[in-house]
């Protein structure tokens, strides 16, 4: 086929594209939040003492840092779906910076003998299992959105999708988990989010070619 022939076919198929990336992300992110909320409501639910926990800064901080991770990853993700868009990567320093600050405050607040028990906690296994499980649906939704776009770095885009899905899953998991120390969050939440990030990178490599 000559290029002229191909251009003729594309011109006949021209006009306003059926989709806009704005709508693609609205659907994908809305869907991701609904999926995570549904899985949380069906299988986990909030911890029994949530009213009392909500009075403590450690419990509330878990939502600040996980929400920071989720919301800071979104503009990066959206940029990675468009060729030649500059992704605002520095935004993603927000969550790690907050976490480092909280760790420093926790080390000052807690006597050294309590550092280790605070870090180990009681829910590490659940954390490492439930965050990835809560994040699977959201990750799939975000990969589907990237697929509608044109990510020129599929592995990186998939990894950021994993980070965003991990952040979203961790917001819900934080309401279930009774371990509130920033030492616990920094260790186990991070590891769980890392698992989703690696999964996202591998999946990105496999499904995001276009």
């Amino acid at each position: 086929m000559k290029t002229d022939d191909l251009i003729r076919a594309m011109t006949a198929d021209a006009g306003k594209p059926a989709v806009s990336m704005r709508n693609v992300w609205l659907v994908a992110l809305g869907g991701a939040i609904l999926i995570a909320a549904a899985v949380f409501a069906l299988f986990l639910g909030p911890r029994p003492d949530i009213a009392a926990a909500a009075e403590t800064s450690r419990f509330l901080f878990k939502f600040v840092v996980t929400a920071a991770l989720f919301t800071s990853a979104i503009p990066v993700l959206r940029a990675l779906a468009r060729p030649a868009d500059a992704a605002p990567f520095p935004l993603m320093l927000a969550a790690p910076s907050l976490l480092l600050l909280a760790i420093a405050l926790e080390l000052v607040a807690l006597p050294q003998a309590q550092w280790r028990p605070a870090l180990v906690g009681t829910n590490a296994f659940y954390c490492l299992t439930l965050i990835p499980l809560l994040g699977l649906g959201p990750l799939a939704a975000m990969l589907a959105a990237l697929k509608r776009g044109a990510p020129t770095s599929p592995v990186l885009a998939g990894a950021v999708a994993g980070l965003a899905a991990g952040g979203l899953a961790a917001i819900f998991y934080a309401a279930y988990c009774t371990d509130d120390s920033p030492l616990f969050v920094a260790t186990w939440y991070s590891l769980a989010v890392l698992m989703l990030t690696v999964l996202g990178a591998v999946a990105g490599r496999m499904v995001l070619r276009w």
């Binding site: 191909l6 011109t11 006009g15 989709v19 468009r82 044109a150 276009w210």
Partner: protein, 181 residues
């Protein structure tokens, strides 16, 4: 790409997204010229891969992904990023080294270099379509018929022709996205 060329192509693509077919035709031809020249410079005397495969796959990707361009931004970097991605893809498929980079587009070569003619990968991809899609895509591209003529000739509704054309082009693009092409 010079700022003037970028502004002209951006204007054409904006008009095209608003439904101006003539502007889209002009835009695709100009981009084809730029990509062809860049691919030839990159390939030098080598004839494998065929630069026209890179041109056609880039155009098809631009067409299928045109909703990822921001109409308030420049078009050059966007076209360049897609061309580079597709060039790497074509090289990988032909078993060549994938560390590809292409120079910036050189304006004055646009459209001046004629393409070489032989069987393209797209022609082979055409064989993978359903019979209905292939008939429609062939009638419009190879035979140069309009949507209305194609509808009359194949005894289809115009809208069905449009759908078959769109799905056919999407299927060809998807096929190139797969590793074996």
């Amino acid at each position: 790409m010079s700022p003037e060329t970028d502004a002209r192509l951006s204007e054409l693509l904006r008009a095209a997204l608003g439904g101006d077919e003539a502007a889209y035709d002009r835009f695709l031809r100009d981009v084809a010229g730029l990509v062809r020249a860049a691919a030839r410079r990159r390939l030098g005397v080598s004839t494998e891969p065929d630069p026209e495969d890179i041109v056609q796959e880039t155009l098809l990707a631009i067409h299928m992904k045109r909703h990822t361009w921001r109409p308030d931004g420049p078009v050059g970097p966007w076209v360049h990023a897609i061309a580079r991605y597709k060039m790497i893809d074509v090289f990988r498929r032909k078993g060549r080294v994938v560390t590809v980079d292409i120079d910036d587009f050189v304006d004055d070569l646009a459209g001046e270099e004629a393409e070489t003619v032989h069987e393209r990968d797209i022609e082979r991809a055409l064989q993978g379509l359903t019979d209905g899609q292939r008939e429609v895509v062939s009638a419009i591209s190879l035979e140069g018929r309009s949507i209305a003529e194609t509808a009359a000739r194949l005894n289809m509704k115009e809208n069905a022709v449009r759908v078959a054309l769109h799905r056919g082009l999407a299927a060809i693009a998807t096929r190139f996205g797969k590793s074996d092409g």
